[in-house]
């Protein structure tokens, strides 16, 4: 029997998700033994036209990481959807838009202008910008066009499963691949990580008081952090209460609060709104001036509560762009 075909693809991402696949270390040999990798641009040389030539549904599973923000990524998402039996959104960007999703706060022109003209490290006196089509040596190369809006994978094509994380852990990845290969699959649309908040598996759980009363918020660089106390008791925003577990609290072990990369649990529609709600309810002051003074410690609520999820949040984007 031929081995099942597997594809890895990347869209708007940093490469960290690819790193996780590499971090499988010798375990990857066990995976490679059982599958044929047919596309993996970061590590192996395949052509898109080879994928185009394959029969529809002939790839068993595609793990796609990165958000969708260009016409090429969109076209590849459609192509891989057509060719794959299972399309898996791999990592925060594919699941919920990820860090690139924060670009949904700015107009496209502002982003292009900063990156090609205004950034302090850019030298571009002619203000050259990439063109969609240009002539060179008799050839006509094409470049993809940047979308105005950053999207999660499921805002572009149907997605079968989600593996969250920035990046997902090797352990979750192996478990998901094993479940796929053995046919032990949960209902379509499931997130392949536990459906319970991070606090439950947090090593500092016992130091979280039942009654919190915030009198100030500090960002991690503004304070020496006690390595044993719950971050919330130290007045540091930790997304743990509103974030799905499965990461084994790695950031907490490194004495950094959770920033929410696993997204919310199944019952949550908007992770950011949920944490905002929980934090604010537990503020100490009861009058406006005192409340605003405490909340001044959260200067960028969008970047804090939607660090990985703005594109897939209820509002999706700054609405007046």
């Amino acid at each position: 029997m031929p081995k099942p075909k597997v594809a890895f693809y990347w869209c708007a991402s940093c490469g960290g998700c690819e790193e996780t696949v590499v971090d499988l270390a010798e375990d990857i040999l066990g995976v490679v033994e059982k599958v044929d990798i047919v596309l993996w641009p970061v590590a192996m040389d395949f052509k898109y036209k080879d994928v185009g030539a394959m029969a529809d549904q002939s790839i068993f599973a595609t793990l796609l990481n990165g958000a969708i923000r260009s016409t090429e990524q969109e076209a590849m998402a459609h192509l891989l959807r057509r060719k794959s039996r299972y399309l898996i959104a791999y990592g925060s960007c594919a699941c919920t838009g990820g860090i690139p999703g924060l670009a949904n706060q700015f107009p496209r022109e502002q982003i292009l202008k900063f990156n090609y003209e205004d950034a302090p490290s850019v030298v571009n006196e002619a203000k050259t910008r990439p063109q969609l089509v240009f002539e060179e040596d008799g050839r006509r190369p094409h470049l993809p066009e940047l979308h105005h809006v950053v999207r999660s994978l499921d805002q572009v094509v149907a997605v079968d499963y989600y593996i969250p994380g920035c990046p997902p852990t090797p352990k979750l990845t192996l478990a998901a691949v094993a479940a796929l290969l053995d046919g032990r699959l949960p209902p379509k649309g499931s997130v392949l990580a536990p459906d319970i908040a991070l606090c439950e598996e947090c090593p500092r759980r016992d130091s979280k008081p039942t009654d919190l009363s915030f009198t100030e918020f500090k960002r991690p660089h503004q304070k020496l952090l006690d390595p044993d106390q719950c971050f919330l008791t130290q007045g540091v925003v930790c997304m743990g209460p509103a974030t799905r577990q499965g990461c084994e609290a790695q950031c907490i072990a490194g004495n950094m609060p959770c920033t929410g990369c696993f997204g919310g649990t199944d019952r949550v529609k908007d992770q950011g709104a949920k944490l905002l709600s929980s934090l604010c309810s537990n503020l100490g002051p009861k009058e406006e001036a005192g409340i605003n003074q405490v909340l001044a410690g959260i200067p960028d609520p969008v970047g804090t509560f939607y660090r990985y999820g703005l594109a897939r949040s209820l509002l999706r984007r700054k609405v007046d762009l």
Binding site: K47, K49, T71, E72, E74, A75, Q105, L132, V133, R139, R140, P141, H142, P144, E145, H147, H148, V149, V156, V268, K269, D270, G272, A273, K274, L276, S277, L279, C280, S281, L283, P285, K286, E288, I291, N292, L295, I298, D300, P301, V302, F305, S313, L314, L315, R316, R317, K318, V319, D320, L321
Partner: protein, 165 residues
């Protein structure tokens, strides 16, 4: 749509004070703008910020929250929880382009039917001046690029690939 646009406002009223006040306004036959869709909750502290965001996402032009005056909450602290969430939520919505006048919090006791009328009339007036928010329409506009930009990508001819022979 031929009908002239008027604002749609979702109003979350607490059972013990503001909803009762709205009832009072009704039985007193007060007349006020018919632009609110009232949702009764047990307490303003029950207003999950998700409800507010979802109301906007589904087409509300404004969201009004009514609760008991400070110290009057039936459950003791619920209205303070709402007040604190409101402060950050309003700032965050502004960062996302939804102006502060579109989200309003008012303390209205069960005896203040008149205040229900004046607050709703005032909010309708202000939002009418702001114009529609229309998030569902905006989402549809944003997603038009998925169909409109796609044909712009011509697949490069296979032969044009660089060969390293």
């Amino acid at each position: 749509m031929t009908k002239e646009w008027t604002p749609r406002i979702v109003a979350f009223f607490c059972n013990w004070c503001t909803y009762t006040a709205a009832d009072l306004a009704g039985v007193s036959r007060m007349k006020y703008a018919a632009n609110t869709r009232t949702i009764r909750l047990m307490c303003s502290g029950r207003v999950d910020p998700q409800f507010i965001l979802e109301a906007f996402a589904r087409g509300a032009d404004g969201v009004l929250i009514g609760g008991c005056h400070p110290n009057d909450c039936h459950y003791g602290e619920g209205n303070y929880k709402m007040l604190r969430r409101f402060a950050l939520l309003q700032r965050m919505l502004q960062d996302l382009g939804i102006g502060e006048e579109r989200l309003r919090l008012e303390w209205i006791s069960a005896a203040e039917g008149e205040k229900v009328k004046s607050v709703i009339n005032d909010m309708v007036k202000k939002i009418t001046a702001l114009g529609p928010l229309d998030l569902p329409g905006k989402c549809a506009d944003w997603d038009r690029e998925l169909t409109e930009l796609a044909p712009a990508v011509e697949p490069a001819p296979v032969e044009s690939e660089v060969t390293h022979a």
